[in-house]
Subunit: 527 residues, 2 copies
């Protein structure tokens, strides 16, 4: 062996060329966002990555709600087959019904369908992008290192697969819990409540029955809901692949929640929790607002918003709010673009848009009236402001429940709302100190973390660029089918073996017994 024995310089050189982690800065990232509020927090990560020297290219439909240009990143605008008016109508259809009927367990299908109707238009836009040959070729030629996408819609994952790019997902969740199924994350229905059930993690027997039924229904529902995603993926990628399988190729899942909001449950090593990423930075309030809230006196003020897409409501409904606000000593800042009543209460300020996080961070903020979107919820948690919650659609029904069981919020149905119920709820969260105390505890736990959510998101995005994926975190479960994953084939074999052994043993015993008896009876006869 002597003489041949030392690590060849060639080997080391080869490693230096192929395996050494790439530079932290200077990556090239393709970003496929989802329009609406989803974009608001993803934008924070995109801007931070750009600030750290990465070239960020954001794919933007030429008709969009909130996605726009910025000097932080480059955009690639693609034409979509719908007009601004059609998009606005689609948003209206999402809101439709929200003020008319309260959400119930039986509404799961309605709830999911409303969401999908809203997203259908964006899927059409996605298809237009995929089959836009010149643009796709131009993108392919840019040799990106990574796809950063929100897998609520399929376009990003499909492009990642087509371009052979590792994908980082940025999301709150996907209907049907598809993210858990795709990431091979166990979700025991005994303590992981299914979406749209309104259950907590502590269920009684009947709730567990509903949760198990929902788990079975979800499987069927998933197939129906994502049939168009499956079809588009298979058609475009020219391979027989479901959307769930496609999502399974993702390297890292950046999940916009943590366990101060979500119930503790099993996770996978490539799931990174970045809840609160949207409330890291606070800006000073505009002078006029600053004056309004500073002069709110000992009673402080209330912030009232219903999310990025809902700034109006039926006049009759709005009247109930105005009536209630007239009776409280707090000032109210309300994002409302509906008709202003002639007798607008003095303590109410209506605004087209308001700096929610900055306002909630003001020491005089006493309560937050919100629809229960996760962005707003985390701004409430970060700033320790108790909430009055009115879920409208989507995951909001579940979100508000998560806050209510922690004793930091009161939930009321906007459908059944009266001035009295609103006053009662506000009175509780403002004057029953337990709400504020619980919220401050929750806020303290949420903010006590070894690394800030934005830094964590940046780290894992850059990690995937440096190592061309995160293969060491990819579970082998991806190589198993459903029967193998649950070891049903093994259980089948073991049952056959046990049954065979039992049958053979019984037969043998019976045979011996008969032989024995026959001998005895023969002997008796002989005697």
């Amino acid at each position: 062996m002597r003489g041949e024995g030392w690590l060849s310089a060639v080997g080391l050189l080869a490693w230096l060329c192929c395996c050494r982690p790439g530079p932290v800065a200077g990556g090239k990232v393709l970003v496929m966002p989802v329009d609406g509020s989803h974009w608001l927090s993803m934008q924070i990560l995109v801007q931070e990555l750009a600030r750290r020297g990465h070239e960020m290219v954001v794919l933007v439909p030429d008709t969009s709600l909130l996605i726009g240009g910025s000097h932080h990143y480059r955009t690639e605008i693609f034409p979509v087959p719908y007009s601004a008016a059609q998009l606005a109508a689609s948003v209206e259809s999402l809101k439709e019904g929200a003020f008319q009927k309260s959400l119930a367990f039986s509404d799961v299908l309605v709830n999911v369908q409303r969401l999908l109707n809203f997203t259908n238009m964006q899927v059409q836009g996605c298809e237009a992008l995929l089959y836009n040959q010149p643009l796709m070729q131009r993108l392919r030629d840019q040799r990106f290192q990574l796809m950063l996408t929100d897998p609520f819609l399929p376009c990003g994952s499909i492009i990642a697969q087509a371009f052979a790019l590792p994908a980082v997902y940025f999301l709150r969740g996907i209907p049907c819990g598809l993210e858990d199924k795709a990431a091979q994350n166990p979700s025991p229905p005994s303590f992981v409540p299914r979406f749209f059930t309104g259950h907590s993690d502590r269920m009684d027997f009947l709730q567990r029955v509903r949760n198990v039924v929902m788990t079975v229904v979800e499987e069927k529902l998933c197939r129906t809901l994502f049939a168009s995603f499956d079809e588009l993926s298979s058609r475009y990628l020219q391979e027989d692949i479901t959307y769930r399988e496609l999502l399974g190729h993702g390297a890292i899942w950046l999940l916009r929640y943590d366990f101060t909001f979500e119930f503790p449950r099993p996770i996978m090593p490539n799931m990174i929790h970045i809840g609160g990423i949207n409330c890291g930075k606070r800006s000073p309030l505009p002078t006029e607002l600053q004056k309004f809230v500073n002069e709110s006196g000992e009673h402080g003020f209330i912030v009232f918003t219903l999310g990025s897409v809902v700034s109006q409501m039926p006049v009759e409904k709005a009247k109930l709010f105005f009536e209630a606000f007239r009776q409280i000593p707090q000032r109210v800042l309300w994002r409302y673009t509906g008709p202003t009543p002639d007798d607008l209460p003095e303590n109410v300020k209506l605004m087209k848009w308001l700096p929610q996080n900055d306002l909630l961070g003001h020491p005089k903020a006493r309560a937050f009236i919100t629809h229960g979107g996760t962005h707003g919820i985390y701004e409430g948690i970060c700033n320790g402001v108790p909430m009055v919650m009115m879920p409208l659609f989507g995951d909001q029904g579940d979100n508000v429940h998560r806050m209510a069981v922690r004793g930091v919020a009161e939930v009321i149905s906007i459908f059944e709302l009266t001035t009295e119920t609103l006053l009662q709820a506000l009175n509780k969260v403002i004057n029953d100190t337990s709400y504020k105390e619980n919220m401050l505890k929750l806020s303290a736990v949420h903010k006590d973390r070894p690394i800030e959510p934005l830094d964590l998101a940046v780290f894992w995005t850059e990690f995937v660029m440096r190592h061309k994926g995160a293969d060491h975190l990819r579970p082998a479960a991806h190589h198993l089918n459903w029967v193998q994953y649950h070891c049903l084939d093994v259980i089948g074999l073991l049952v056959i073996i046990v049954v065979t052994v039992v049958v053979v043993t019984v037969k043998c015993c019976a045979f011996c017994f008969r032989k024995c008896c026959m001998r005895k009876s023969l002997k008796k006869k002989e005697d």
Copy 2:
């Protein structure tokens, strides 16, 4: 509502007194370590916590292998009912057989029994401590904020429960995968290999059969193995509690591995991975050693150790190593306290103890011959040195397999060892550059992390002190029994409902059919 509506100063004051996170420094921590190599890495955390201003009190048996005093922490020495000679004999019994028979699947019981024989003595020591009334009273009076313990042995968890202290666990694992069972962590047998099976996470059908069988056997084995722990816990705490249930009260599990070593699998939110915590710091080599390795020339040197408890081996076995080392161009540093042969090869340096991590960090380190303990493995990974592995007992058989499937190590059986097999293995890991390349890749992934393992361990320990636990990470599964967790009661109900519906439907159909037929036949007769 006007007039009553503002957050009372009393409420805020109450929160400031009861809920505000406590100070980071100045905590008071009781430490119950496990003797032997387990202590070596826990000591690092204990010293770091002391350095950060926490008062650390370590419980030390008056007869111990490696746990000793330090100026970093205070010790409470407790008498144990065994002598140094008896302890040495118990260590010998652990090593017994390691050089005589290779580990096989069927040896799982032998393997576990050897481990437990070794720990039995420490359990006796634990019992002596628990019933040492004056010492226990003195400890109780000190009003600690936290118990830091290795749950490989039950003493720490029992004291934590008795003193109502939140517990932070520091461990590699517990036989039977008890840590997963206790933390309610799902372990699907289809891709999570059971200990002592030697499987990887990619199993063929027969391996899955063995893994499922092992899962069932483990349940039974666990009950037998931990019967004495269960009995001691119940007896001392005066409540009907199993050791598994007791462990379930732990706030945080600091696990001494990550997914560069372990196969990716589901985890729980209160499981924190701190693999590599033992190789964070490197010291300069003593002058003599520095000279020896610097002068090893282009061929470099090999580090050879078999862990903290094995520094000798049968003379015949040692001879095989000396013969092999004589034939290689590398220098060899061997921790060996057996008889030195007259013809000791020139290139071999025998030492009673060697600075393993510092040596492996030297650029001329070419290979690491190790038994496959996790400390050594992580020192190999951190420093990017490929390994020749010879498992002796405990988890080592599984550990070495995890390295071999990653192409960074050759495994040989010390029982079947010959000079040729050793030379072949050394030749491979030194001259086949793929081993070094794979190891450097693995090392790069391992060291690319958002926060150092020691800082992470400190953070979570302090977190538990600040918040008196980590309740927000505790899954509701702890409130379910086995039947409820697996929803067997729900499935039972659903099966009954389905069967009832089917039977009733069939009966109804049959009834209608009969009625129908009877009418027809009656009609025919009437006709």
